[in-house]
């Protein structure tokens, strides 16, 4: 390599250069072309003295390329199938121009850099007198190919290249075998040709992508319409999925990555968006007839387009709601007797559609939410069947599971399983406070009557409720357990104390001391009652004992919760009866004689008439007592005799059973108590909110109250409004001056 500048004759030098150039482009003289020699020639021409010829050289090269390209064009056009030929020529051209560009490195520098010479007043954008912009030889070669091959054929020969490209792809689409690698090369040449310009994809988009998408639109627009009218939805969806998958592959076979998304989108528009309503309307049937495969196809198609699945969600929710409501309706009043069907069938429904969500809808959060919404409607629906008061029913269900000696025939692990699933339904209950009240009632009965299945089962149910609703929700329930533990210790202590003081009277006497407020016992009770003389001594003893232990605590006796186990001596067998205290008191009267009127019994027991009649009736029904005027109604004047001929196969009898069930009055009282609790809860939250916000609009206040209360219950707006008015009246808050819907906190 010589760097010395020489005096040369341009024509002679370029002739030499051109000879090698021809060989290079023909790929004929491989091996005989010296790259180094050509490089030196370029350098010499560009640095020639006295005047360098670089512009002249550049123009000469351009002229050569134009001639070459024109020749190629002729050659290509002489074939019928021009795409493969084009691809071959283009490949050669691009390799040759690549070398040429390397050889002309020095020339490129001179041409391109001159553009940037500072201080040149008028920037010369073009080389010499030509209209070639100042660009390197590669870019020049690209421009020439584009103008002389691509655009020339486009304008003068009916765009034969692109036409044949599209035709080939169409054949591919129709399943004929094609040589797609040459097609891809031809297509990607459009990208390569513009790669050195400001808009590298312009040519590709203009010449290929835009018309290609237009063709897809036409092709699939027609195909989808035909398919839809000739096939079932199911077949239609299958072919849509197939087509979309094929186009994905076709994209990678032919197109530049930038067009993939656009092309797929067009396919989706034609196959999905334009016919989405057909799929969406059919979806209801798919769900109802359990056509899971169709459902998942509909989902996978419609989830590709914006808002596509919204109607599906709606149908899904509606269908589940309908099924759920049907279940509720068909159960009728049987729910009141047995909560099991209600709970188990709803849980089964839930399990089924949770599975559908995960298998068919890929656990799409929107479908899970739709399922939740449906279940919230079902569980809180009391309009369909007034017996379906879920807080109460579900609480009773847990009771049937947690009470011992049930005829369910379920193993312990099965019971555990059901209880863990019942929490699923529990979570949907709006009135969780109501559930809590009912749960604590049944729990209280289990604990007091010692009928709980096991301490572990109870504890695990509580912990489930706790994890669903927080510590505060179960704290009262927790305290009930604490009372039970304390009472066990207390009874042991009491027995020791009795023995120590020699107070034992042969009665096995045990007491539960329950904290007021933690237990769901109505404070207006207990009713008036005279405890049988047989128990007086034990009660006095216990009161003394307890006063010694905890002075100053007040004990109230809840007689109606008490039970007595007695052995009878007056019959042929020594029956052991399990009685409520009231039943025992009534029977104890008969220690003094064989026959009494109800009024006489009442004088001794002091029970109110309503309760007394209930108790006496239970004893008559158990045949322990005989009503002398058996045909007429039991009333105060009725005479009762001890049934001396009582007989039963078993010696251990439970008479108290019927008296333990929740009375309707208790249920109403529970609901009323809950209502009052809610009022307080809402008022407290209004005051809290107003205290921190000072001034708030009506709507905001209502929103925030709902937000604060929703973990426990769903407050209704009229109730909130009433609470607001009560607070206005009590002057905790007042209405803002000159504004109809703002409140101000009163300090």
């Amino acid at each position: 390599m010589s760097l010395r500048r020489k005096r040369i004759d341009f024509d002679t030098a370029f002739d030499e250069f051109k000879r090698d150039l021809v060989k290079m482009f023909d790929f004929s003289g491989t091996g005989s072309v010296s790259g180094m020699g050509m490089y030196q020639l370029v350098y010499d021409i560009c640095t020639a003295v006295p005047r360098p010829f670089f512009e002249k050289l550049y123009c000469a090269i351009a002229e050569f390329l134009c001639e070459y390209a024109a020749g190629v064009r002729m050659a290509i056009l002489s074939h019928d199938e021009i795409v493969p030929i084009y691809a071959v020529y283009w490949k050669k051209y691009s390799i040759a121009t690549g070398y040429l560009n390397a050889i002309c490195e020095y020339l490129n520098g001179r041409i391109v850099n001159q553009r940037r010479v500072p201080g040149v007043s008028e920037r010369r954008l073009f080389v010499g007198t030509t209209n070639y912009p100042r660009q390197d030889v590669q870019a020049l070669a690209n421009q020439i190919w584009r103008d002389h091959v691509i655009l020339e054929i486009k304008h003068r020969k009916h765009n034969r290249i692109l036409y044949q490209i599209f035709e080939t792809i169409r054949q591919d689409r129709e399943g004929q075998p094609v040589n797609y690698s040459v097609v891809q090369e031809a297509i990607l040449s459009l990208v390569a040709l513009n790669s050195r310009t400001d808009q590298p994809l312009e040519l590709y988009i203009e010449e290929f992508e835009t018309p290609y998408i237009a063709q897809i639109k036409a092709y699939y627009g027609q195909e989808s319409s035909i398919k839809l009218s000739n096939c079932s939805i199911s077949q239609y969806m299958r072919s849509a999925i197939e087509r979309l998958a094929q186009e994905g592959i076709r994209n990678s076979r032919y197109c530049h990555p930038t067009s993939h998304a656009r092309i797929i989108q067009e396919c989706e528009t034609q196959y999905i968006s334009n016919h989405k309503t057909s799929i969406q309307t059919e979806f209801e049937k798919m769900i109802a007839n359990h056509r899971t495969e169709d459902c998942s196809m509909a989902y996978s198609l419609l989830s590709r387009i914006e808002d596509g699945i919204t109607p599906l969600l709606w149908s899904f929710e509606k269908y589940i709601t309908t099924v759920g409501k049907e279940i509720i309706l068909n159960l009728g009043t049987s729910i009141t007797k047995d909560p099991r069907e209600y709970v188990e069938r709803l849980i089964d429904l839930h399990t089924k559609y949770t599975e559908v969500c995960s298998k068919v809808f890929k656990n799409d959060a929107a479908f899970v939410a739709a399922l939740d919404k449906a279940f919230r409607t079902i569980v809180n629906d009391t309009a369909t069947n007034t017996a379906a008061r879920s807080p109460e029913v579900i609480a009773r269900y847990t009771d049937t599971m947690l009470r011992k000696k049930q005829k369910t025939g379920l193993s312990e692990s099965e019971i555990e399983d059901r209880l863990s699933r019942v929490v699923i339904l529990f979570k949907y209950i709006d009135d969780k406070d109501l559930f809590q009240k009912f749960y604590s009632r049944v729990l209280a009965k289990r604990l007091i009557f010692d009928s709980s299945l096991s301490a572990e089962a109870e504890a695990s149910m509580i912990s489930r409720l706790k994890s669903a609703c927080g510590v505060e929700y179960t704290s009262k329930l927790q305290r009930m357990f604490t009372d039970m533990t304390i009472s066990t210790d207390l009874n042991t202590g009491f027995k020791e104390w009795l023995q120590g003081n020699d107070y034992s009277n042969g009665l096995d006497f045990s007491i539960l001391v329950l904290t007021a407020g933690s237990w769901p016992v109505n404070s207006t009770q207990p009713l008036e009652f005279q405890c049988p003389a047989e128990l007086e001594k034990s009660i006095t003893n216990f009161t003394t004992f307890y006063d010694n232990r905890h002075s100053g605590r007040k004990l109230s006796w809840f007689w109606h919760w008490c039970r007595a186990d007695v052995r009878v001596n007056y019959l042929d067998k020594r029956y052991e009866l399990s009685l409520s205290l009231y039943q025992f008191a009534v029977l104890a009267v008969f220690n003094a004689g064989d026959s009494f009127t109800v009024t006489e019994i009442r004088e001794q027991t002091k029970l109110i008439e309503f309760e007394l009649l209930r108790v006496v009736k239970s004893l008559v029904e158990a045949s322990l007592l005989i009503q002398s005027n058996a045909d007429s109604n039991l009333e105060l004047s009725s005479v009762l005799r001890l049934n001396m001929a009582f007989s039963n196969k078993r010696t251990k009898l439970k008479i108290s059973g019927g008296l333990q069930a929740d009375t309707p009055q208790e249920t109403t009282a529970t609901i009323k108590a809950v209502d009052e609790d809610r009022r307080l809860c809402i008022q407290a939250s209004i005051v809290r909110i107003m205290k921190s916000r000072r001034v708030l609009s009506h709507m905001q206040l209502v929103q925030e109250v709902i937000e604060q209360c929703k973990t426990r219950f769903a407050p209704n707006v009229p109730m909130i409004k009433k609470c607001i008015e009560q607070l206005l009246d009590k002057q905790y808050i007042e209405r803002a001056e000159n504004s109809l819907d703002r409140y101000v906190y009163v300090t």
Binding site: H698, V702, V717, P718, K721, E725, D729, R735, L740, Y743
Partner: protein, 227 residues
């Protein structure tokens, strides 16, 4: 004295005399005469239960006759408002003296002349609002927080006469008997309700607004009737 009084009102029209002279002059002039006028309504036979220094129901009836107004119209309530009377149906001596002085009135004729202007003034919304709110305090038993609904109906019919919802609301209270007493919030809000909610309830926006539940229920009643 009559002449002098006329002279005073004359000078007032010209706006010439200074305040102090007028004040002293008025002090001497009005009180005895005003008191004598007051006394003509006290101690009437039917008002035996009332203090001799108060005007009771019979006295008010006589007053109505004297000034040619009906008890059914708003006029007497306007007087009560200007006297700032504390409890219906009593005007005390103190209220009378202070109120009449403020009104610059000491006789039937002067009052009759003044009254139309006072009633006219109710057309000013701000003034009417103050008057309306005063009525709640005046018409309820001073020991109670609320007003019996019968009184409230009578008051609404008188005070709100001809305004939107007046008749229908009173009808609602009478027919459905949703409440026994009306509280201050409900009373105050009824005026705003009447002012803002059109007769056909088309701009009432349900539970999202802050109207007392009583008014929500009134709307519900109206809508049921329409449906």
């Amino acid at each position: 004295a009559d002449l002098e009084a006329k002279a005073s009102s004359q000078t007032k029209k010209d706006g010439a005399p200074t305040y102090t002279i007028l004040h002293n002059y008025k002090k001497k002039l009005y009180q005895p005469k005003c008191y004598l006028w007051f006394k003509t309504y006290t101690g009437l036979e039917d008002d035996e239960d009332f203090d001799r220094e108060q005007i009771g129901p019979a006295g008010i009836a006589k007053l109505c006759e004297d000034i040619d107004v009906s008890l059914e119209t708003v006029d007497m309530l306007v007087l009560a408002y200007h006297l700032n009377a504390d409890t219906m149906p009593i005007f005390t001596k103190d209220e009378w003296a202070k109120g009449m002085k403020k009104l610059e009135v000491d006789s039937i004729e002067r009052f009759k002349a003044k009254l139309p202007g006072l009633v006219e003034k109710l057309k000013d919304p701000a003034h009417f609002k103050e008057f309306y709110r005063y009525i709640f305090m005046f018409a309820k038993d001073s020991e109670q927080k609320c007003m019996p609904v019968d009184t409230a109906c009578a008051m609404i019919s008188t005070v709100m006469k001809g305004r939107p919802h007046e008749q229908r609301f009173v009808e609602y209270l009478g027919v459905k008997k949703p409440i026994k007493v009306i509280n201050k919030d409900q009373w105050y809000n009824f005026l705003d309700f009447s002012d803002t909610i059109s007769e056909d309830l088309s701009n009432y926006d349900g539970l999202s607004s802050a109207w007392p539940v009583l008014l929500d229920e009134y709307v519900e009643w109206r809508n049921e009737e329409l449906a």
